[in-house]
């Protein structure tokens, strides 16, 4: 945890959020059936480059890393704003998100991103039915049942774990993209490899390597808030209306507690007591 009660993401490994894998699978499935290109976008620390490589192994055509210290402490509203700036730079018909992340479980970024893009949203998707004449039909889980809905593209979808089984990395793609890297990762790597080199030398080396990688299609695009033209008022801590008041480690304790021996007599006494207290009839 950081002092302000936000999560210290640097201390955590970057993982592919499980339902984002279902969203990627749905995107790849759409590409297989109807054509198109799949671009994967993530906002995170440089370590999130690993997630983008994973997406490339599985079949994504393009990968974009949004990384900028000014993104730190973004709540869902600021995150959706930053993502909307990135998506607006792309040519898209369908934006897919996992239903929710396993850290916060909020399920808020998808709908907020749809609102910022001014497009309809379809949440809790459990099945893609068809896309025809630029109209998409899906089945969504509505808690006590399902609903089939359709709309014209463009649209934002949030995908649940029930929608599909994510494909695994393809060996050929793994061989091809294992060297794919984002500039920030490359700089870190070069610094580690050349501990005595001056800052300027590293930069120069990185620039040269980046253009080599770009020519081979192995450079992960890296965007910062300046490139996105994002209004800093809506980013990071400033752009986040929700703040953490406090974090408590909670140990709930029963007021009266007794230990019961796992024997016939112990259990019999307990059940007798529960009957006496009219807890069981």
């Amino acid at each position: 945890m950081n002092d302000d009660g936000t999560v210290n993401r640097g201390a955590l490994p970057a993982i592919f959020n499980p339902e984002d894998l279902n969203a990627l699978e749905m995107a790849l499935g759409i590409k297989d059936r109807f054509g198109g290109r799949v671009t994967v976008v993530t906002m995170g620390l440089p370590a999130a480059g690993a997630i983008l490589r994973d997406a490339l192994y599985r079949g994504a055509d393009d990968a974009i890393l949004i990384t900028d210290a000014r993104c730190a402490a973004s709540d869902t509203l600021a995150t959706s704003y930053i993502l909307s700036c990135a998506v607006k730079k792309l040519d898209y018909d369908i934006v897919l998100c996992g239903r929710q992340a396993i850290d916060g479980d909020t399920a808020q970024v998808g709908p907020q991103l749809a609102e910022k893009l001014g497009i309809p949203q379809m949440t809790y998707i459990e099945q893609l039915i068809e896309i025809k004449d630029r109209t998409i039909t899906i089945q969504r889980n509505v808690g006590n049942g399902w609903q089939q809905v359709k709309t014209k593209l463009p649209v934002l979808l949030t995908v649940t774990a029930d929608a599909n089984e994510p494909r695994i990395a393809a060996a050929k793609r793994l061989m091809k993209y294992k060297n794919a890297i984002a500039p920030v990762e490359l700089e870190q790597k070069l610094k580690a490899e050349n501990p005595n080199a001056a800052e300027g030398e590293i930069k120069e080396l990185a620039t040269r390597k980046c253009s080599e990688l770009e020519n081979k299609g192995l450079l992960i695009k890296q965007w910062n808030l300046d490139f996105l033209g994002a209004d800093l008022k809506w980013c990071g801590r400033n752009g986040s209306p929700t703040k953490v008041h406090r974090i408590q480690s909670v140990v709930l304790a029963a007021k009266e507690s007794k230990t019961i021996e796992p024997t016939d007599d112990g259990l019999s006494d307990m059940i007798h007591e529960l009957i006496e207290d009219k807890i069981i009839a």
Binding site: E115, V149, L252, K258, T259, P262, M270, H272
Partner: protein, 353 residues
Amino acid sequence: MIDVNRQGEVWVFAEQHKGKLEDTPLELMSKGRHLANILGVKLGALLLGSRVKSLTDKLRHYGADKVYLAEHPLLEHYQTNSYAKVIYDLIHKYKPQIVLYGATTAGRDLAPRIASAAKAGLTADCTDLQIGDHKPAGDNQIHKNLLFQIRPAFGGNIIATIINYDRWPQMATVREGVMPMPTPDLMRKGQVIEEKITLSQSDLPVEIIAEHTRPKKVNLKAARIIVAGGAGVGSKDNFRLIWDLANCLGAAPAATRAAVDLGYIDHDHQVGQTGTTVRPSLYIAVGISGAIQHQAGMSQSQKIVAINNDPEAPILQIAHYKIIGDLNIVVPKMIKTIKEKGIKEDTVAAGHK
């Protein structure tokens, strides 16, 4: 963006489907009433639909001072864009200080869309709401009487209290079943404010083409006794122990998220933050370690019995009766004892289907 409005009301989104109010907004009325009383403001219910005026009485009986009624043929079915537009306009017009939504599928689809449009904060899946003061670090200004939005958070045993002091309204979705259902007061009076709504087909970009209701396999909220199994039960076959113990007590069988993810039992039986929140007379936790997300869904039970072979399992800290032992030995012994006591078996439980 809406500024702080100390005179603003407390609102509850009164979600209804096919002319029937959902449980969660009714549960929220008790908490909303409590918050409005502390703040000295009115409690408003937001009712959207087509020909739903008859529901306004019920909302007043459950605690609303005012019911904002938005009726329009295009509001007959819940749809994200049309509902978000109407509620956003009402928020803009009346500037409530707090807006609460049930964390239902519709609530979780709708609230973030409104929060984004209003550029306001939103906290998901709260388990408690309180009023309190906040002083930001390095700032001498104290923000008084804020909505404390309380929920279990990140990776385990922590509870976060979230606040939103500058960009209002303060909004939260609240888990189903975490607030007690208020007792309706049939004599309670209140005001109905009929809003004039303008909508066109372009506000409904999504078309509903088919719907199907899956009845829940079990009603955990109504169960007096619940027997729940966790990953510690070990296998789907072994989960029969949970069913057997539940059956001989006339109890409902339940499970943790881990047990559901392992395929031991259907998701309808899941108790916890992402399942059902329950408050039975007796909760028997078998092979459940007791992650905070699970505890959030059952800690309000009147009596808790925990059976676990790990004496350090967190569940034991909230149990009234701790049984440290092998569930494969303890549960059959319990079944035998219960049968000897002649406890009447009944069919309250969902039982095997």
